[in-house]
Each structure stands twice: as C-alpha cells, then as structure tokens.
C-alpha cells in the first residue's frame, strides 16, 4: 500500500489542483503522475483552457521557486539559461541565473520560440544542468518543466521535432470543462478576489517531493510486466502507421509513469492496467504516426497479450 507518509501531501496536492482546475480530475491525476515520475509535462491545448492556471497552481503546490517564460520568436537561449554580466565594481563576470534554475518552470507556447532557444531549454530538461560560458550549473533536484503549446496556430511557429519531444514524459490535453464545472468556475470567480490562487500553501515540505519520487522509483515491476511492456514497444515499432517508434528512453519513461500511477492507486507494484492507463499521455508525445495516434495506441493495446499469471 502507499506509504502512509505520502498520502497526505498527495491528497493536498490533488485538492489544490482540483480547486484550481475544476472538472478535470483525470487530467490532474496524470499531471501528478508525471510529477511523481520525475518527468516534464507538455500541455497542448487551445487557448484559455487553463494550461497556465494549472501550471501556476502546480508550481505553488510543489513549493519552491517558480519561473515563467513566455516564448517569443526573439527569445534567446541566454534568456532561458542565464548569462554572465560584467560587474564593474568587482571587475568580474557574474552569472545571472535564468528562469531554468527555478524549481518549476512554465514555458508558454514553446513552439513560438526559435529552435535554438528550444534546444537550450530541452537540453537543460534532459541533463538537469545549464552550461553557460563553459561552466556547468546544476538545476534543482525537482526541476519540473511545464510547457504549453497551441495546436491551432501554425503561423510563425517552430514545431518541436519528435526527437526533442521525447524529452517530455507526457503530453496532455485539458479539454473544455463540463457545464457544472463551468458553473462552479464562474461562481468562484465572482466570489473570489484577484490573485487569490497565489495564496495557496505548498503541499510538500522541503525534500518531501524528492523522497516521494524516490519511493515511486522503487515500485515493484514484475518480470512479466516488463515483458509486456517490451512487447508493447515492439508492437508499436512494427505498426505500419508508426513512422517513429518508441525509443528505449521512452520505454523507461513509460515504466516510470506506470510506477507513478500504481503509487497513486495505492499499490506497491505495477500492473498492466497501470501501463495501459498512462500509455496515451506517454506515447502521444513521442510517437511519429500517420494519422491519429489514439487509434494506433488503441490498436497496439488491443493486440498484445496481457500476462495474467506469473511466468
């Protein structure tokens, strides 16, 4: 069962995020899974659906420092990673850390900045360090990037290539809220003051999130479940409509996401159901598919034999 110490902060996190984003419990659950898996999140959806709200709420709930970058075509890599400034008083160059050194970084409309700037961010996401003037600066141990992009506008955008999308653990869409959630949202907006969300307290104490992430990493994954995962990977690569298959990194991320999901379900082990549940978000971000990826993922999941009994 889930470690009792982890229940409370997770529940608090869940409550806070559900308060910030109404009617999207399933999306929030996957966001939490992505956080616990230690991966980065890509939110792709139309404007005004709460991507930034969710990201800000998540950042506040995690605690720590929060940075936000609005990606524009004139954004430079140094604007992300930071740069050195010459101090006239000390007559030395001083490093000015960029937004990437925050615990939580919200990168809005990542597809609007140039590939050069995208690379700088994605490199930091992958290596958890930033190199400026040949000096490596480590990032936060819980460095978590939430990137957003608009699937509608294509003019003046620089779509992330599949190879770089692989840096993200999951890609989620929020979608429109249902009517009751919209009612609640509107009612809450009337009653609440501006910037009320800024007052939410962090859900995790210092080091607690890291501990939980470490706990997730040791969730039991049985050999038959790993075999199942490998079979799924093979099936994806062999699918005729897949142009870019699942990489070993993707396989690792999928397993980690499954571990996070099983942790959230209160189990100490991963089941094939866990893998199937997180398959969509994990695979959507990294597969190259002709046509709709959902159909391909459904085909694959419906074709591979699930291990029911131990080897």
């Amino acid at each position: 069962m889930m470690n009792g110490a982890a229940i409370a902060p997770i529940d608090r996190l869940r409550r806070q995020l559900n308060t910030a984003l109404l009617g999207k419990a399933d999306v929030i659950e996957r966001v939490i899974a992505c956080l616990l898996a230690g991966g980065h999140l890509l939110l792709e959806d139309k404007p005004g659906l709460g991507k930034t709200t969710l990201a800000k709420a998540l950042a506040q709930a995690i605690g720590g420092t929060f940075s936000r970058v609005q990606c524009t075509p004139d954004l430079l890599p140094g604007d992300i990673t930071g740069f050195s400034v010459f101090n006239l008083k000390t007559r030395e160059f001083e490093f000015q850390a960029g937004p990437v050194f925050a615990d939580v970084l919200l990168t809005d409309e990542i597809n609007r900045t140039t590939p050069r700037t995208q690379s700088a961010l994605l490199e930091a996401m992958a290596e958890r360090q930033a190199t400026v003037d040949n000096i490596r600066h480590p990032l936060s141990t819980v460095f978590f990037v939430i990137a957003t992009q608009n699937p509608i506008e294509h003019h003046g955008t620089y779509p992330l290539p599949e190879a770089q999308l692989d840096r993200f653990a999951m890609k989620l869409s929020i979608g429109y809220p249902d009517k009751s959630s919209q009612h609640s949202m509107l009612a809450a907006a009337v009653a609440c003051e501006a910037d009320a969300g800024n007052r939410a307290a962090p859900c995790f104490s210092t080091g607690e999130l890291r501990a939980i992430q470490d706990r997730v990493a040791v969730q039991v994954v049985a050999a038959n479940v790993q075999s199942y995962l490998i079979d799924l990977g093979e099936a994806i690569r062999n699918h005729p409509r897949v142009t870019l298959g699942l990489s070993p990194r993707g396989l690792l991320i999928w397993q980690r996401a499954g571990q996070a999901w099983s942790f959230l379900q209160g189990r100490p082990f991963v089941t094939p159901d866990d893998l199937r549940t997180v398959a969509g978000p994990v695979l959507n971000v990294r597969l190259g598919v002709q046509g709709e990826s959902e159909a391909v993922i459904r085909d694959v999941l419906n074709s591979v034999t699930v291990p029911i009994y131990p080897n």
Binding site: A222, H239, R267, P268, V300, S303, V306, Y309
Partner: protein, 779 residues
C-alpha cells in the same frame, strides 16, 4: 464470424485422430466389425480425449513450451495397451500380438496428442501419428469398409490442414489485429476454403459414382494391383502376381498354368467318388435293368474319344441311395476347396444335368449332350466366349452379374459357370473348340478329364427377379419333350400334389414358387433320411411318409410336380456356393466337395435355365439391388434395429441430451471439484487457481477474456454483480498481487485470502459470467 483459431484446430485434430483410430479398429478385425471390447475401449479413449481437451493446460503464447508432466502422460498413453494386455489375456483368454499392442498404443497416443492439440508441437505430432495409422490401416486391412474409412479420414485430414494452418497463421504474429487492419485481412472462419473443399470432394464423388465407367474401373483396378488386371482396359499390363499367368497353347488341350501343371490323367478321386461319399453309394440295379442301361446307350453322346471316367459314371443318379456313412463332411485333401468364387452368392454351379426319371430303377438319367456349335468367340477380339444357343431375347432380366471362379481341386473337367451364363472367359484360351457343352448350359474343357488347378474362369450371367417373369417366359411342351416327361406310375400322384399346392394360383412363377415354398416349409432336409429298403418310390415315401429327406428328393419331387404343370424342368447336380462360406480375409467364397447339391431348373423360352430351390436352407441368387433399393433396405434394417433396441437407444439418447443440455454445468462442477480437491499450497497458487476457474466459467458462459484484456477489464464485463459476486473485485486484486508481486508480503492473512476465494467460487456459477450490459473492455 471469427472462432478461436487454436480451439478449432484442436477440434479438427481430435476429429482427425478419431477417424484414424476408427480406421485401425476396422482393419484389425477380419470381418471389419469391431467387437464389444474394441467399441467400449474406443469410446472410453474418446471420452478421455474430450475431457482432456478441457482440462489440459493451453499455451498462453506461441513460444511457450508444454509442461514436462504432459509428456509423461502421453508416454503413459502409449504404454497403456501394452500394460493392460496381461490383464485382458487373463480375463478374456484372448490376446493381441506384440505388433498390434504397439499399434494400439500408437492409437491411444494419437488421441492423447489430439487432446493436447492446443500446443502446436502436439497438434503436429497427432497429425503425423494419424497419417501413420492411416497407412497401417490401408496396408493391413482389405475389408470393404476400409476404403470408406480412409476416404473419411482423408476428408478429416483436409479439414485439419485448413484449421491448423489458420491457427499457425494467427500465432505467427501477436499483432493479429494489426495485421487485419494493415492488410485488410480478417482471420475469420474459413468458410470459402471449406466450401471449396466440399466442392472438390463432391466432384470426386460424382466422378466416382456417375463418371465414365471405363475410367473409374480402370482407375479402380490400378489401385490394388501393380498395373491393372485388364478387366476394364484390355491394354493394361498385368503386374507381378496379378491375375492368372496362363499361356496360350497351340491346341485346345494344351492350356495350363505357367507353373507347369500336370496334364496327365489323374488317378485322384473322381466326381463319382465324391457323390458316393456324400449321398451314399448307388444301389445295385437288378440284372434285368441292365438292358435298360444298354438301351440308354442311345442317348449317350457318340464320341470316338474316350469319355472322362467320371462323366461316364454319372450317367445316372440314384434317388434311392442309402445315405452317407457318416456326417456330410467330405475329406479335404490338398487345397481348401474345389474352387473359390469371387462375387455375389449364393450361386448354383451345375456339373451334371438329368432329364428322364426311371421310376423302376429310381434313377435319374443324364440329359443328352448338345450337338452343334454353342460357343463362339466374342467379336471384339477379347478373350470372352459367348454361349450362343439363344433363340430369343427375354426382357425380364435385371443387371448382369459377374463372377470369378478359381479352380482349386476340381475333380472334373467342368468349367464352372453359374446358371444363365451369357459369356465367359479363361484368359488366353480364346478358341471356341477348347470348350464344349456336356449338357445344356454346363461347360467343360474339350478333351480333358480334369480342369487344371489355378485356372480362373470369368463369367457374366443374367440375373432376374422371378416375380417379373411373365407366363409366356417358359418353354412350350414341343421343345425338348424329355423335360416334361413324368413316369406314368407317379404321374397321378405328382399331379395331385401339384394341383393341390397350386390351387387358384395363377400360372407362371406364382405356381412354381408355391411348390417350392411348400417343400421348403413343410419338409425337412435330412441327408440321412432314406426310404426303407425295397420301397417302391423314394419320392412318394418322401412326400407322403417321411416328409424329410436329402436334397435330391426335394429336387425330384419339385421337378416331377412342375412337369405335371407343363413346366420344362430338369434336375441338376452341381455345387452350391453358400454366402455362409464367405471368407472376409480372402474375400472369396470357398466351395468344397461337401457343397455338392441337387436342384431343379426350368427352361425359359430364350434358352436360359432358371434355378429353382425347393430345399430348405438354400437360396437362389437375387438380382443386384439398385442403389435406391439398397438404401431403402438399409433404412429398413436400420429401422428394425432401432425398434429392437428402442429402450437402450432411448435411454442413451436421453443421457446424451441431458449431458449436452447440462454440459456446461457438468463441466463447471467438475472444474470446481478439481479446485476443491487441489486448491493450492500457497496463497498465490490458491488465488491463481481461483482466477483460472473463474476464467473457465467465463469461457463456459461465452464471455472469454480476450488475450489483450486484463483481469480487471474482463471482470467489469461479467454479469451484473449480484450479492454473491462481491468477492470478484477482491479476487481480481489478489490475482494481481499473485501475478505481479508474489514476492511481496500478501495484503491479507492467508486464511482470509482462502476464504475470499472460496466465497468467489462457491457463491457463483458459470451463468454469472455472461457478458453484462455494462460497457467494459479494452482501452
């Protein structure tokens, strides 16, 4: 429609193996009819196979290897017949040779492999064993049922190929659905292939039944022989040891076997001696009778050649013999019988014909030999000879019949032919002057005393249903007056009997049949019944006093009575090929010297002799039944058999119906019983066995878990959870623990886990696992 490929392949394998088992069972019995033990054992093996197919484990993936213990079970199946042989010998006092025990072991193994045919390796092995058994059956058995059994076996083999290939195709790639989507291929039930298979089989059957007979016949004779017998195709080459190996000689009497048969006069027993053995020696006539014998010389054929010894001695047949010295069993020396008959029986093969009855001497006198040319060569250049003494063609005949008569040890120069023979042949003996008619319709080899052993006589004779004979079919009195002659001393009595027995019966066959029927039903055939010494008339003694006697008295009485009714009748002495003497191994009817028989024959207008059989226990050859008649007869036999065994059949049918109706419940209870007897030692094995049992219930309910479904997904599709189904989610949770985290400490105490499993099993049945209306299933 899409059926589980592995399951359909398994059933096809069972069908294939069962048919091979049946074919071997037929081949292992001489008459082709399995005995009770064989049927019982076979049914038991079949039942175990069906049960085994349910209980034996199935592979989850194509690469999975079968468990080792299954191999031991199959080895035990192979050894079973050998193991029980000592017990069977003790109980039944009969046994099987070792090679048959091994074959029986192979048969049981084949069925065992079929039960485990979910495993590809066993599926293939079962087919290999079935093929071997088919070869064995075809090589060992030549019973008439074997070709039919092998035909069915071939059909089953074809079906196996279709379904096995389908199963293998489905298992080649785990991504079956991907293949279907990508290549627009649907692995559905092979309807088109089965239709094509059925069409091919139907075409083959149609060609066999209705195709060109020459082709079918030639093809048919190619199969059993190494090159054809020439029966259908005159240009077919004979294979080694096929057919006779005569060589044509320059003279009529030089015909014989290649194996240098002896062409010398033999001092072996003649036909006279055989007749004497069976009927008793003739009584010595009074001296005054010898003048009559001398007078009878006028009817003896003028022949400058020396007549065969036996022929001269049989000029007369004494009807007042003293009976055989012992039981009617001739001494068999050398070959099994006199000749072997291949073809339908019963068959009357006349050797000597008698026409005049000497009432004082109580003798039948032989009929005169025919003068003129009565045998001719067939014009097509083949070996067939025609019996040409036909004045008009009768239209009352059914389809001709063919026979082959192989001489073994015939004590005569007779060329044995059935009554109403129209053509005959002895290969390479193609000259008409090699034959002669000693009597009307009775052939012999010209100038010979004995027909050589090994000669095969091919004959074609008429058949008819006597009920179809019109009144005018019989010859008129002006033709061969001897055939109507009744001694004055017997005429009034014979006429009285005839009139009494045929009163108000129309002329023709009804009258003839009436006389024959009365004799058959009211008189007893007793070879030892002889008239008192000195009795003036054996036939009257037979008719009035004893009402029993040997067959020649039946023939005499019938002949004299028929003559009083103006039917041209003679008495024949010859051989009777009885259906009871049929040997299923050699597929021939053996005719021995003890099969000598006497019967009357009536002359028809077209010159053929109609055999009449007044002696009880003897029959005449009926016409070959048409397919429709045989089918009707088979249906009638089946109906009678059903009526005789109505109670057993009804009980069996009810049992089968009950089993079929409740099969799922019975299977469920059986599986549950097995689960209760062996629930498992550890908590994880208990949970996993419980899960398997629940899955089995789902299969019974038609709600099988699909391969890509998790237990939780499948559990959501089962019937609406009632109170007794509350354990299901817990069992699923425990199953996940057992399957994916067995090394961790269980979530609950073991006793509680067992209790949950017991509740889940005990409070549900297979019916609860039908698919519910709740939408569930795959992602």
């Amino acid at each position: 429609m899409a059926l589980d490929p592995t399951r359909s392949a398994r059933w096809a394998t069972i069908l294939f193996a069962t048919q091979a088992y049946v074919a071997c069972e037929i081949a292992s019995h001489l008459d082709g009819i399995p005995d009770r033990f064989g049927v019982g054992f076979g049914l038991g093996v079949f039942g175990l196979t069906i049960l085994g197919s349910y209980f034996l484990p199935s592979p989850k993936t194509d690469s999975e290897k079968p468990p080792l213990w299954l191999t031991f079970v199959l080895v035990a199946a192979l050894a079973l017949p050998i193991a029980i042989e000592p017990v069977l010998r003790e109980i039944t006092n009969t046994g099987q040779p070792l090679e048959m025990q091994l074959v029986n072991g192979l048969r049981v193994l084949g069925m065992g492999l079929a039960a485990a045919a979910s495993w590809r390796v066993y599926r293939r092995l079962s087919a290999i064993v079935s093929l071997f058994l088919a070869l064995f059956a075809s090589a060992m058995g030549d019973q008439p049922a074997i070709p039919y059994a092998l035909t069915v076996l071939a059909a089953c083999g074809g079906l196996w190929l279709v379904f096995a290939y389908r199963a293998e195709s489905a298992s080649i790639s785990a991504t079956t659905n991907i293949l279907e989507q990508a290549f627009k291929v649907r692995l559905q039930f092979p309807v088109r292939e089965l239709i094509l298979f059925g069409l091919l089989a139907a075409v083959g059957l149609a060609i066999t039944l209705a195709g060109p007979k020459e082709v079918i016949g030639t093809l048919g004779e190619l199969v059993p022989t190494s090159g054809g017998t020439g029966e259908q195709d005159p240009f077919a080459r004979h294979g080694t040891n096929d057919g006779p190996e005569e060589t044509a000689g320059l003279e009529a009497n030089s015909v014989g076997m290649v194996e240098s048969d002896l062409f010398i006069e033999s001092r072996e027993d003649s036909l006279l001696d055989v007749v004497g053995d069976l009927y008793g020696p003739p009584h010595k006539p009074r001296e005054s009778d010898e003048r009559l014998v001398a007078a009878g010389q006028e009817r003896v054929k003028e022949n400058h050649k020396k007549l065969p010894e036996n022929r001269r001695a049989n000029r007369q047949f004494d009807t007042s013999r003293r009976g055989p010295k012992d039981a009617r069993q001739g001494q068999v020396r050398g070959p099994r019988g006199v000749f072997e008959v291949e073809g339908r029986t019963p068959l009357h093969i006349a050797a000597v014909a008698y026409d005049l009855y000497d009432v004082e001497k109580k003798y039948w006198l032989q009929a005169p030999a025919l003068k003129g040319r009565f045998i001719d060569e067939e014009s097509d250049g083949g070996d067939w000879m025609l019996t040409v003494k036909r004045r008009e063609h009768g239209d009352w005949y059914a389809k001709d019949d063919r026979h082959e008569i192989k001489i073994a040890d015939l004590k005569d120069r007779l060329v044995p032919t059935p009554a109403m023979t129209t053509r005959f042949k002895i290969r390479k003996v193609t000259r008409a002057d090699a034959y002669e008619l000693d009597y009307d319709g009775i052939l012999g080899l010209a100038g010979r005393t004995k027909t050589p052993s090994g000669v095969i006589v091919h004959t074609q004779c008429r058949t008819l249903d006597p009920r179809n004979l019109p009144e005018e079919a019989f010859a008129v009195p002006s033709f061969q007056p001897n055939l109507f002659a009744v001694p004055a001393e017997l005429k009034s009595e014979m006429a009285r009997y005839a009139e009494e027995w045929t009163r108000s019966i129309p002329r023709g066959w009804p009258q003839i049949d009436a006389i024959g029927s009365r004799l058959r039903t009211e008189y007893v055939c007793d070879p030892k019944a002889v008239p008192p010494k000195g009795h003036p008339s054996p036939v009257l003694w037979f008719l009035n006093e004893s009402k029993s006697g040997p067959d020649y008295l039946f023939a005499t009485a019938a002949t004299l009575m028929l003559r009083t009714l103006n039917y041209p009748t003679r008495v024949c002495l010859g051989y009777y090929a009885s259906p009871e003497a049929y040997d299923p191994v050699s597929q021939h009817t053996t005719v021995k010297s003890t099969d000598l028989h006497t019967w009357p024959e009536i002359l028809l207008r077209d010159g053929h002799w109609l055999v009449i059989e007044p002696t009880p226990g003897y029959e005449t050859l009926p016409p070959r039944k048409s397919f429709a008649d045989r089918l009707q007869e088979a249906a009638s036999d089946l109906g009678r058999w059903i009526v005789r065994n109505a109670i057993e059949l009804l009980a069996g049918a009810l049992a089968v119906l009950l089993l079929a109706w409740k099969r799922k419940t019975i299977l469920d209870r059986s599986f549950t019983l097995v689960w209760m007897l062996k629930p498992g030692r550890t908590w994880s094995s208990v949970v996993l066995k419980t899960t398997k049992l629940l899955e089995r219930r789902g299969r019974l309910a038609g709600n099988s878990r699909r391969e890509f479904e998790t237990l939780a997904q499948w559990a959501r599709t089962v019937c609406e959870p009632a109170l007794h189904m509350e354990s299901m989610p817990k069992v699923v949770e425990l199953a996940e623990w057992a399957a994916y985290a067995a090394q961790l400490h269980p979530p609950l105490p073991e006793s509680e886990i067992r209790e949950i499993c017991r509740r889940a099993i005990g409070r549900s049945s297979w019916r609860d696992f039908r698919k519910s209306d709740v939408t569930g299933g795959a992602a």
